[in-house]
């Protein structure tokens, strides 16, 4: 599966230990690489870095560049973002959704209810880390 993980997943995994599931998800992705892979836009790395300690910050960038592909925000077509704004997403959320579509992600993983309540007719799944782990357990084919 190609996944886009929202910033809250990385922050919960490595910052405030609020929810252990995102960390389990990242561990599983690492263990099963390249079966599952991650892409993320620069905006998400910036959000994560703002919400981690300076020491975690440095390690996060090394971790994420080792595991995932980071794309600059400007590569996402403007029209795609506008499409998601028309769906009722706020600008930055529209951008994340557009990014997920642009990279052809199978799923956007987030704990953010603003995404989770708008899941109809999207070209990718919107799931929590827990749901994503469940999807990974399903037989492929």
């Amino acid at each position: 599966m190609l996944l886009v993980l929202d910033s809250n997943e990385y922050i919960f995994a490595f910052g405030a230990s609020i929810d252990p599931t995102p960390r389990s998800l990242l561990k599983r992705i690492l263990d099963e690489y390249p079966l599952h892979s991650i892409r993320l836009p620069r905006l998400i790395t910036d959000e994560v870095r703002r919400n981690l300690s300076p020491e975690s910050n440095r390690n996060f960038m090394t971790f994420v560049t080792g595991l995932a592909e980071i794309d600059e925000d400007f590569v996402v077509p403007f029209d795609l973002g506008a499409k998601y704004e028309a769906f009722g997403f706020k600008e930055a959320d529209a951008f994340i959704s557009a990014y997920a579509e642009w990279v052809g992600a199978d799923a956007l993983v987030t704990e953010n209810r603003h995404f989770l309540r708008r899941t109809d007719n999207l070209p990718f799944l919107v799931v929590t880390a827990e749901e994503c782990l469940r999807l990974m357990n399903l037989p492929r084919g």
Binding site: G15, A16, S17, L26, L43, N51, F63, T65, G66
Partner: protein
């Protein structure tokens, strides 16, 4: 020549290095257990709200910086 060298560096940076990622994953987990993280002590909902605020601030800044 320089452009070609930059391009090669870029490709090298983007190549996954799972061994390195695994090492830094362990370090990050260790650092998280020691606390001192900006959102430590918050509930899940409070943390999501704080992260959304960061998103809005960063987005507004990016939009303002556009030519």
């Amino acid at each position: 020549m320089l452009a070609q060298a930059s391009c090669l560096c870029y490709i090298k940076v983007m190549k996954p290095d799972i061994k390195k990622a695994r090492k830094h994953f362990e370090i990050l987990c260790d650092l998280a257990s020691k606390g001192k993280q900006p959102l430590a002590g918050m509930s899940k909902e409070q943390a999501i709200k704080a992260i959304r605020k960061t998103r809005k601030e960063l987005w507004d800044k990016k939009i303002a910086a556009r030519p």
